[in-house]
C-alpha cells in the first residue's frame, strides 16, 4: 500500500540548512503569524499554507514541526536546530513528523487513510505529531473527504499542515477547517541578497532572480548555472525564426510549446530582455538591467528600436504568460506571440551567431 512518504532531502530543502524559521527567506509575515501562535501556545490543529511553488512553505512547515517538538523547552517560537528532535526533523528521520507527497499524479485516499490511522495513535517520541501534505490540491475527492474526518475531530497532539499552490482547487469544506497562512512570492531584493550571500556572483544573481518568479526553489534549481547560456540559445533561435519568416516561426512555436516547463522560463527570458530594452531606451543606466552581462547588446539594440515597438512586444509577451497560466493552448498562444513579435521587432533580439 502506498503509505505516507517520508520527506527526502531534495534540492529545495537545502541540506546544509539546519531548518527553523531562521532558515526561511523573505516570509516574515507568514513566520510572524506562526511564531505568535507558537509563543502563546495557541497553534491551530490544521494549517493551510498557500503560495507559489518554492517560496518556503515546506521549510516553514518543518520549522513549525521543529518548534513544536523542540526538546529545549515548551512554547518556543523556533526550534533550536541542535537537539536530537530538531536534527531528526531536519533530516527527515523523526517518527512523528511525516511529509506526505502525491503518489503519482494525485494524493490518494489510501495515503490519507494511513495518515488517519497514524493520527489516532499517540506520538511516538515527540510532543506533537505533524503531518505535512505536500501538493494538497492534488487530493482526489475521496481523499479529501477522508481527510475531513481527521480535520473535523482532530486527535489531540496532531497538527496537519496542507501545502498548496492553488488553494482554490481545494474543497471549501477542507479550507474552512484550516487556518490559512499566505506565502507570497519572495521579494526580489530578499531573494537576490540571499543568492549573493550563498556566493553567487551579483550579475548572475540578478538574472536568476528575474527568471525565478520569486521562488527560491527555482532560484536554487540546478538549471540556474546554465541560465545565461539557455537564454542566449533561446534568443538566437528566436532571432533565426524572425529572420527566416512565418513558416519558421510556426515551426518554432510548435517546438517551444512541447516543453511546458522550459516554456515558462523562455518567456521569462523574453520578458526580461524586452524590459531591459525599455530601461535602456529611457535611461541608459547599465546597473538597472537584468541582463547586465549583455549590457552592450541591449544598449545597441535599444538604439535601433522605437519605444512603442518595445512596449507593444512586452505587452504581448506578458499577455501570453498570463494566458498560459489560465490554461490557454500553448501552441496557438505562441504562434500568435511570435507572429506579433515579427511585426514589432523583426530584427531579432540577439545577434544570430551563425
Amino acid at each position: 500500500m502506498p503509505s505516507a512518504n517520508r520527506q527526502q532531502p531534495t534540492v529545495n530543502s537545502q541540506t546544509s540548512s539546519p531548518g527553523g524559521f531562521r532558515g526561511l527567506i523573505g516570509q516574515e509575515r507568514a513566520a510572524r503569524v506562526l511564531q505568535r501562535g507558537l509563543k502563546t501556545g495557541r497553534t491551530a490543529h490544521a494549517y493551510l499554507f498557500a503560495g507559489p511553488e518554492g517560496v518556503g512553505k515546506r521549510t516553514a512547515a518543518l520549522a513549525l514541526a521543529q518548534a513544536l517538538n523542540c526538546q529545549r523547552g515548551d512554547a518556543v517560537d523556533d526550534g533550536c536546530s541542535a537537539c536530537q528532535s530538531c536534527r531528526k526533523i531536519a533530516r527527515g528521520l523523526h517518527p512523528d513528523v511525516q511529509v506526505v507527497e502525491p503518489d503519482g499524479a494525485t494524493l490518494k485516499i489510501d495515503q490519507v487513510r494511513a495518515l488517519g490511522a497514524d493520527a489516532a495513535l499517540r506520538p511516538y517520541e515527540g510532543k506533537r505529531k505533524v503531518f505535512i501534505l505536500q501538493g494538497a490540491e492534488k487530493m482526489t475527492e475521496q481523499a479529501a473527504n477522508a481527510l475531513l474526518k481527521t480535520l473535523e475531530e482532530p486527535p489531540g497532539w496532531t497538527v496537519v499542515v496542507l501545502l498548496t499552490i492553488t488553494p482554490s482547487a481545494l474543497p471549501l469544506t477542507i479550507v474552512s477547517r484550516c487556518q490559512t497562512v499566505i506565502f507570497s512570492a519572495i521579494a526580489s531584493d530578499a531573494l537576490q541578497a540571499y543568492l549573493v550571500a550563498t556566493g553567487i556572483d551579483h550579475t548572475q544573481a540578478r538574472l536568476i532572480v528575474s527568471c525565478s518568479g520569486g521562488s527560491i526553489g527555482r532560484a536554487l534549481s540546478p538549471e540556474v548555472v546554465s541560465l545565461g547560456s539557455s537564454r542566449d540559445l533561446f534568443l538566437e533561435e528566436l532571432g533565426r525564426g524572425l529572420r527566416d519568416g512565418p513558416a519558421a516561426l510556426i515551426d518554432l512555436a510548435e517546438r517551444l510549446a512541447k516543453d511546458r516547463e522550459g516554456l515558462r522560463q523562455n518567456l521569462e527570458f523574453l520578458s526580461a530582455w524586452l524590459r531591459d530594452l525599455m530601461v535602456a531606451k529611457v535611461s541608459r543606466r547599465q546597473e538597472w538591467l537584468i541582463n547586465q552581462d549583455r549590457g552592450e547588446e541591449v544598449a545597441q539594440q535599444a538604439e535601433g528600436l522605437p519605444l512603442n515597438a518595445i512596449l507593444d512586444s512586452l505587452r504581448v509577451v506578458n499577455g501570453t504568460m498570463d494566458g498560459l497560466t489560465r490554461n490557454a493552448n500553448p501552441r496557438l498562444s505562441l504562434e500568435d506571440l511570435l507572429l506579433q513579435l515579427r511585426a514589432s521587432v523583426s530584427t531579432g533580439l540577439l545577434q544570430v551567431s551563425a
Partner: protein, 366 residues
C-alpha cells in the same frame, strides 16, 4: 562493538523481532534492527512505530557499542548459519563483520542515533499472571472494530483500578468485557489505556503461554509489557473510549442455558449455508428447545434443533452467527447462558455462573 554469542540465542532474538519490523514504511531505518551490546547483554530492538519489540540475549561482550542492521538480511544470514558461536564485530565506519565457523559476512549498518528511541521501563508497573493476561486479550480482541473512522474503537480498553482489571472491546455491534478481580495496583496510579489491535495480537504471539508474569507499565503514550527477556512497546490510541457500561442490558430477564459444544457445533453447521453476504441466523426459543435456522435465498436453508434450559414464553431473535461463534470459541465452560429481552434488544452472553466475562451482541432484524 564486538560480541560473541551462540547462533541459536541470536536466532531466537532476531527471528520474532524481524517479523514485527515493517519494510513498507518509507522511513528507511525502520527496516533495520538496532543491536546494542552492553555489560554482557546483547539487546535487539525492532519497531514499526506502532509496536516495538526488544529482546535481551546472553552473550559475551568484548567491546560495547551499537549498530542498526537490515532486519531481513540479518535474519536470513543467521538462519543459514551452523549452530556454533557467532562473532559480531563493528568497526568505526559502521561496517559489521559477522563470522561463524568458516563463514564471514560484512554488512553496512546505520548509526544508533537515526533509530527511533527505545522506551525503558521507568517506575516498574503492575504484575499480572501471563496466562491470565493472554486470556484477557483473547477474550476481547475479536470484538475490536476495524472501522478507521472511529479510531478509539480500534483497540482494547485496558483499565486497572484498585478493585479490578478490565479489558473491553467493541465494534458497535458487539462488546466483550473481561474482568479480573483483585487489587493489582498496590498503590500505583490507575491505568487507562487503549491498546491497538496490532499490539494486542503481537503480545499474544510473543508472550509465552508458560506460567510466569508480565509486567505492565502504562505511560502517557506507550504501554510497556515486559516478561522474561522480552519487552513490547505499544503506542497507545489517542482519545476517550466510549461509555460501554450503558450498553450492557439490564432488562434482559429471559434466560437460556445451552451446552456450549452443542451450540458451537450447531451454529457451525447452520453457518455453512451463509454465503458472502451476512444473513441472520434465526434463533427460535421454545420451552426446553432452541431451533436454529438460516435461509439463504440463493442457496437453500439449514435447520438445527437443540435441547436447552428455557422456561419463558416463545420468542424469535436473529443474530449474526459469526459473533456468537467468536464468543463461544474463547469460552471454556461447559454451559453458556444467554440473557434476552426481546427481538430488538441487545443480548447478553456469559459462561454459566461466571460474571467475569460478558459479551453483548446486538440482534439482527429478521
Amino acid at each position: 562493538m564486538h560480541i560473541r554469542i551462540s547462533r541459536d540465542e541470536l536466532y531466537s532474538g532476531v527471528g520474532p523481532i524481524q517479523a514485527v519490523v515493517e519494510t513498507k514504511r518509507s522511513l528507511p531505518i525502520l527496516s533495520h534492527l538496532l543491536l546494542e551490546a552492553s555489560s554482557n547483554r546483547l539487546s535487539v530492538f525492532g519497531t514499526d512505530l506502532d509496536v516495538g519489540v526488544r529482546k535481551r540475549l546472553d552473550g559475551e561482550v568484548l567491546k560495547e557499542g551499537s549498530i542498526a542492521l537490515s532486519a531481513r538480511k540479518l535474519y536470513e544470514i543467521i538462519r543459514e548459519l551452523p549452530a556454533a558461536t557467532v562473532e559480531l564485530n563493528v568497526d568505526a565506519d559502521l561496517t559489521a563483520t559477522i563470522t561463524c565457523g568458516k563463514s564471514e559476512f560484512r554488512m553496512k549498518g546505520l548509526p544508533r542515533d537515526d533509530f527511533p528511541s527505545m522506551r525503558e521501563s521507568k517506575e516498574g508497573g503492575i504484575l499480572l499472571e501471563r496466562r491470565l493476561f493472554r486470556d484477557m486479550i483473547r477474550r476481547t480482541v475479536f470484538a475490536v472494530s476495524s472501522d478507521q473512522t472511529r479510531y478509539t474503537l480500534n483497540g482494547i480498553l485496558f483499565r486497572v483500578t484498585q478493585k479490578d482489571a478490565k479489558m473491553v472491546a467493541t465494534d458497535g455491534h458487539r462488546l466483550a468485557i473481561t474482568t479480573h478481580d483483585g487489587d493489582l495496583l498496590k498503590d500505583r496510579k490507575p491505568v487507562e489505556a487503549i491498546i491497538p489491535r496490532k499490539a494486542a495480537t503481537e503480545a499474544l504471539k510473543l508472550l509465552k503461554e508458560e506460567p510466569g508474569e508480565v509486567e505492565i507499565e502504562a505511560g502517557e503514550n506507550h504501554l510497556l509489557l515486559s516478561s522474561d527477556n522480552t519487552l513490547i512497546d505499544a503506542r497507545l490510541i489517542e482519545g476517550q473510549f466510549p461509555n460501554y457500561e450503558q450498553v450492557i442490558p439490564t432488562m434482559a430477564t429471559k434466560q437460556v442455558t445451552i451446552d456450549r459444544d452443542a451450540l458451537l457445533a450447531g451454529l457451525r453447521r447452520t453457518s455453512t449455508i451463509i454465503g458472502e453476504r451476512t444473513i441472520p441466523t434465526t434463533m427460535e426459543f421454545k420451552p426446553g428447545q432452541l431451533l436454529l435456522s438460516c435461509v439463504n435465498l440463493d442457496l437453500g436453508e439449514a435447520r438445527e434443533r437443540l435441547d436447552v434450559e428455557y422456561q419463558q414464553e416463545e420468542m424469535t431473535v436473529g443474530f449474526n452467527a459469526r459473533y456468537i461463534l467468536d464468543f463461544l470459541s474463547v469460552v471454556e465452560a461447559g454451559q453458556v447462558t444467554m440473557h434476552l429481552q426481546d427481538a430488538l434488544s441487545p443480548a447478553l452472553f456469559r459462561a454459566k455462573d461466571d460474571k467475569r466475562y460478558t459479551c453483548v451482541i446486538m440482534p439482527m432484524r429478521i
